[in-house]
């Protein structure tokens, strides 16, 4: 069970002077129960890719397949795919519009025609997952705090019961407690068997959390692999617009100077290794 992207090409405004190739042959796989980070600079095609994963955009060339269903027009493919793959846009709180939190979160399932008796159950489950208590169910979503709004917006995607969750910069604008809470939620969802596709420009975050990382550069997959492999590659070659975490550059520099330190994103591990190597 996975999302399979094969040779995906996307051209905006084909045949006009505005023609731009946003994606150029991207191939990767995102499995249920795993966390894939898609990292790249602004304009690398991250957001275009996100929209392909649930059929908001259709491939110019190549294919996107979700649990064996190809994303394309006709045969109800788009409806099925959109229920399977939840898409959380950047600043999702901006999409809130209902009078109450409960109605907001039931918007998705109602659209998909979920029967009323299971609807309430779904909504309560989704709100429970994001940690919004029943005291807020009847509150206006527009009156919540920033962090709560974000979580309600995510619940409003979870309530449709997606197997995969695509999130575009989900931590943008949150302070560190809000960020930690959100990342814990995503880890939890992953443990429950959902596939997480986390789109971000924060390499440090991706290295620490993802099972696999896809690095996009100008619409092409520049790197694809486990964080430790990506880490080594990053030091070897420069990917445009990607800010390599200071700690990684630091470890790389120390290696050049003869220190035996691992390339790691764990501060304590690196400090220990420096200590051991320094004594020698």
């Amino acid at each position: 069970m996975s999302i399979d992207v094969k040779g995906l090409v996307h051209v905006y405004h084909p045949g006009t002077p505005l023609e731009t190739k946003a994606l150029d042959g991207v191939t990767f796989r995102a499995e249920r129960g795993s966390w894939v980070a898609v990292v790249g600079h602004t304009g690398s095609g991250k957001s275009t890719l996100a929209q392909h994963l649930n059929g908001l955009l259709l491939p110019t060339e190549g294919s996107v397949t979700v649990d064996g269903i190809e994303v394309r027009r006709g045969e109800g493919s788009l409806r099925k795919v959109r229920q399977k793959v939840g898409l959380v846009f950047q600043y999702p709180e901006q999409q809130l519009f209902e009078e109450t939190v409960f109605k907001e979160v039931s918007f998705g399932p109602r659209n998909w025609g979920v029967p009323t008796d299971t609807l309430n159950e779904r909504v309560e489950e989704a709100l429970g997952l994001v940690g919004i208590g029943s005291d807020l169910f009847e509150a206006s979503p527009l009156r919540l705090s920033g962090g709560e709004k974000r979580r309600v917006a995510i619940a409003s995607v979870l309530s449709s019961g997606p197997d995969y969750l695509v999130l575009d910069e989900p931590t943008a604008g949150l302070d560190s407690p809000g960020r930690r809470q959100l990342l814990d939620l995503l880890s939890n969802l992953k443990a429950l068997g959902r596939g997480i596709i986390h789109i971000t420009h924060d390499m440090e975050l991706a290295l620490g959390l993802a099972d696999v990382i896809l690095v996009l550069d100008e619409g092409r997959s520049a790197l694809w692999g486990r964080p430790d492999i990506i880490l080594g590659e990053l030091l070897e070659r420069d990917v445009r617009g990607l800010v390599i975490p200071d700690m990684v550059r630091f470890a790389g520099r120390l290696r050049e100077l003869g220190y035996e330190v691992p390339l790691t994103w764990e501060p304590s591990v690196l400090a220990e290794a420096i200590d051991r190597s320094h004594e020698r």
Binding site: Q51, N54, L56, R79, R82, Q83, G86, L87, F89, P92, Q94, Q95, L96, F97, F107, G108, R110, N111, W112, L142, S156, V157, S160
Partner: protein
């Protein structure tokens, strides 16, 4: 359109082309061409800011009677500034709601209007928030209304403006006088 006493140039079935009809069509066509050319000329020669500044100057004598000349020009500037932003935001919100299963393009007009509520409400929220932020930002940049403001590029009347004015006046008169005379005997 059918005219009395007109001369048929061509007929084919129920289609009948008369001389008067052809002349009328040509005149309408020319008027449209003229209109589009004038509008094109305006946008090609004058930036939106110059236009706003110009309107502000033009209406400033009416300020005495409480006419908000500066405010109108400022509104125009801000509206122009935010059109592309608003279009982007509309697209983004629409996509977000479609991703949540909204069907925005099905059914009759009434149903569609209702289906658009999930797009309209967030847009209103964004726009009001922006109005608030923008007002604060303008205040923080010492904006207190039109009084005492200067301009980076003050408008100055030059020979070119006089020439353009004379040309426009003559051209407009000529257009009015000649309208209805040409193409007819």
């Amino acid at each position: 359109m059918r005219f009395l006493n007109n001369m048929t140039l061509f007929s084919w079935g129920i289609i009948e082309i008369t001389r008067e009809g052809a002349v009328m069509a040509a005149r309408m066509g020319l008027r449209l061409v003229l209109l589009v050319m004038y509008a094109g000329l305006l946008t090609l020669t004058t930036s939106p800011t110059e236009l706003a500044d110009g309107l502000e100057n033009l209406f400033s004598p009416m300020r005495r009677f409480g006419f908000p000349a500066h405010e109108l020009a400022m509104m125009m500037t801000i509206a122009l500034r935010f059109i592309p932003t608003l279009l982007n935001e509309t697209e983004r919100i629409m996509k977000a709601q479609i991703a949540r299963g909204a069907e925005l393009e099905r059914g009759g007009p009434l149903k569609r209007l209702r289906a658009f509520i999930p797009v309209l409400v967030p847009l209103f929220v964004i726009v009001f928030q922006r109005a608030d932020d923008l007002a604060t930002a303008m205040e923080a940049r010492n904006y207190t209304g039109g009084e005492g403001r200067s301009r980076m590029y003050p408008l100055k009347w030059s020979v070119r403006d006089s020439a353009a004015l004379v040309f426009s006046v003559i051209f407009s008169f000529a257009a009015v006088l000649l309208d209805g005379r040409v193409l007819l005997p």
